[in-house]
Amino acid sequence: MPESHPLVIDGLGHTYGKNRALEAVDLTVSVGEFVSLLGPSGCGKTTLLRSVAGLVSPSEGSISIDGRSVNASGAVIVEASERGVGLVFQEYALFPYMTVAQNIGYGLPDSNPERVDGLMAVTGIADFADRRPSELSGGQQQRVALARALAPRPALLLLDEPFANVDAGLRADLGRMLKRLVRDEGVSVLMVTHDQDAALAMSDRVVVLGVGPRGGRITQDASPVDIYERPASPEVARLGGAALLLTAQALGHTATSAFGTLSLSEPRQGDVTVVVRPEQAHFSAEEGGDAVVESLQFHRTHHRIRCSTGVGEVDVVVTNDESLPAIGDQGFVTVRGPVWAFPST
């Protein structure tokens, strides 16, 4: 029953002046589910999030939060202040004149110091209760923003680019804390991000919003594994991470390409585009080969080399136990294991 879902969006559309920001978006978030809305800048993902929060009044469609209709046919039924959702802004939006404890307790209808103390303890900011936001680091401010959003125990938590202003070193820690917190609080999450690593690592489900002709529309709604391994389009394939897209001729479970015969993860027929991920490509050095190593990067657990080939540039993962080629080395690029293919458009 859709009423039992923390969030149900049906046919949502929105226009800013002459720009179409959202087009017929249908989306459901189930109880306890962590859903990421992934897309490049300008695809409408923040508009969607703000529509759910009640900060944008969408032109068309309906939104239900926790079984209650809050928007219908472009009209606001429930104001932002009455929706009962938690929202963590990209900029944190902490109240500068209040202390950390006052910020966290702001949305609580009655003064509830136990709840505030509890959240400060689990987010690791108990020592900063009496400080002002300006006295905190970026990571600490983000923890305050998260605790403040969770304090009123919302059924749905909205996160707007939560890692955009956090150092790379802190992201993993904050991500783990966020996952643990939302699980313990039993809250469902809709996170907006353009960071594919964060979306794939944290989410139960990833919804991709398209750009260009597909702007403002959902182009794929799937698990992180499917987004990466079985993308619905070349755009989603690129959004999911580094990929070489090759045209090929498919015949059942195999396809003929510039890299020879490839094994397909699902049977296809005729003209297809195959997606080769860096970890599926292999470089073997050999004088006179058609691939040349152009650059080389160290990534702790592996190296990534970029080779120019007859069909374009391809990224290749070289594990630390493999022999590492040098820049300028010649050789051949081969593809290991089954690859994903979709019909060429």
């Binding site: 929060a53 202040s81 802004f89 900029e91 939006a93 902490l94 109240f95 004149y97 949305g107 401010q141």
Partner: protein, 526 residues
């Protein structure tokens, strides 16, 4: 560029501007001359009679004006930036900034009193005295509050207000919890600016015959009663200084956290009461501050033409005004550039509030009558060893007038100059240097494009202020032989030659409006 010598030069220039008039006042107070006939020196209690009452009335007038302009200006600022009600009217509500207070007072007194073109029809009482002065000064200072509070509202990121909304707050609670604390310094500062404006105002209180310090000070100076003038001047300073230090404490006290976000706030739907309050505010400000003065001036001119009265050609006054305003503008901007650059450099280095900046604001807080008196006395005393004719030459040369304008308006041109100098990106300068550009090329290609809009805004603000200025022009400009438009309006109004006063007033308004509109346009680039 090494800022240290510039800083010292700037500090010296500002110190001189503050010190000369105050020193002059002090000398006048300490060195009271004996009566030329009796040879007796007036006792202090005699020259200070009634000063307490004048002081109280001045403070009360300023307090009422600050309260009124604070309420009206803050309301208009909120309506402008948080609703869609004002639209193009937002510009109209700022137009009274271009109107001299004496012109608003004179036209309001003439048109709304019995015998006036509106007063007769509505049966209004005589529009003079304390309450009318409060209305006039609220009308001309409310746009200042609207501008300052509006800038604070405009620059404020919407996300904190949105965060409070999403956490379940009503719009009223959002205003009190989030918007009000952020606006409080801007409201307090702008109210104090209105307070300083009102206590320094001379034109409106003179036209409306309100016995306050500045008006009585002018009369004492005009009657060459230096002893009385020095006591009144000291009382004015006593009233001013606490306000000045309060304004200093409030200036720029806005705290920000997080990342700036340019996303505008979703406009509020106004209630019927809010619409009524807005219509009333706009009607009052635009009606009394623009429509009524311009309409009355036109009627004065029309009346003169219909009665075939002879008009004095305005061209001489227009030329004199332009010469005086351009000269004063260049002198003031040149003088203010030194401390502005020094303060911008200090800010870049993360140093705290500067006394140079405080000196700038203190200088401009002095009422025009007071500083003119101080300059006259100082000039008389300093030139005495060289013979009395030297003072006459100094006064006639216009040098004292230029110093008077610079002292009066250094703060107004200082603000955009400081922003302009602060906007210089040292990385761009260094990039040009590394790329081989010499000092002149760096100045021409990097520095000048960066500071030019701010310098132009400063020039326009200076020009506008000098065109409208009255007491300094009257007291220091008379001996120069230059008869400016403000001088002409004052002179003809007091002679009851309305048609001439109307024509000069219309030209004055035109010049002030043109420079104000250009300021608004250039400010967008600054």
């Amino acid at each position: 560029m090494n800022s240290s010598p510039l800083k010292w030069l700037g500090t010296a220039a500002i110190a001189a501007l503050v010190a000369i008039p105050i020193l002059g006042l002090a000398m006048a107070a300490l060195d009271r001359q004996p009566d030329p006939i009796t040879g007796a020196v007036s006792p202090l209690f005699q020259v200070s009679a009634g000063v307490g009452e004048l002081l109280l009335r001045s403070v009360l007038l300023s307090a009422f004006v600050a309260l009124g302009s604070g309420i009206v200006g803050t309301w208009l600022a909120w309506v402008e930036h948080r609703t869609r009600m004002l639209g193009a009217w937002a510009i109209a509500t700022l137009l009274p900034l271009a109107m001299p207070s004496y012109l608003v007072a004179a036209t309001m007194r003439s048109s709304l009193s019995p015998g006036g073109w509106i007063g007769d029809r509505l049966g209004l009482p005589h529009m003079t005295g304390f309450s009318t002065a409060v209305i006039v000064l609220v009308v001309v200072t409310a746009p200042l509050v609207q501008l300052i509070v509006g800038a604070s509202l405009k620059n404020a990121s919407a996300v904190e207000e949105e965060a409070a909304l999403v956490l379940g707050s009503s719009p009223i609670r959002v205003f009190w919890d989030i918007t009000w604390p952020r606006l409080r310094p801007a409201i307090g500062f702008s109210c104090l600016i209105s307070l300083l404006y009102a206590i320094s105002d001379f034109g409106a209180v003179a036209v409306l015959d309100v016995p306050v310090l500045t008006w009585r000070l002018y009369l004492a100076v005009e009657n060459q009663d230096v002893a009385r003038a020095s006591v009144l001047g000291a009382a004015t300073l006593v009233a001013l200084l606490p306000m000045f230090f309060a304004a200093r404490a409030l200036r720029g006290g806005v705290q920000r956290v997080g990342v700036a976000n340019a996303r505008p706030v979703q406009p509020y739907q106004p209630s019927r009461l809010a619409v009524c309050a807005t219509v009333l505010s706009v009607f009052t400000i635009v009606g009394l501050g623009v429509v009524l003065p311009v309409g009355t001036l036109l009627i004065w001119v029309w009346d003169g033409m219909s009665r075939s009265l002879e008009f004095v050609s305005p061209w001489g006054a227009i030329t004199d005004t332009t010469i005086v305003a351009l000269g004063g503008m260049l002198f003031t901007v040149g003088l203010a550039s030194l401390p502005a650059y020094a303060v911008a450099e200090e800010e870049r280095k993360g140093q705290g509030k500067s006394w140079v900046e405080d000196g700038v604001y203190l200088t401009s807080a002095l009422p025009g009558v007071l500083l003119a008196l101080g300059l006259i006395v100082a000039a008389v005393r300093f030139t005495r060893p060289f013979g009395v004719e030297v003072y006459g030459v100094v006064l006639a040369s216009g040098a004292l007038l230029m110093v008077g304008y610079a002292t009066r308006f250094v703060a107004e041109v200082f603000a955009p100059l400081r922003v302009a100098f602060g906007a210089i990106d040292q990385r761009q300068v260094e990039s040009a240097r590394v790329l081989g550009a010499g000092a002149w090329k760096r100045f021409r290609t990097v520095l000048l494009p960066s500071i030019a809009p701010g310098v132009v805004v400063a020039c326009l603000i200076g020009f506008n202020a000098i065109v409208k200025e009255l007491p300094v022009t009257l007291l220091l400009g008379g001996a120069t032989g230059l008869k400016t438009l403000s001088f002409r309006v004052w002179d003809r109004y007091n002679e009851a030659l309305w048609h001439d006063a109307g024509l000069a007033g219309l030209w004055l308004v035109a010049l002030a409006l043109i420079s104000a509109v250009l300021t608004i346009r250039w400010r967008k680039n600054a």
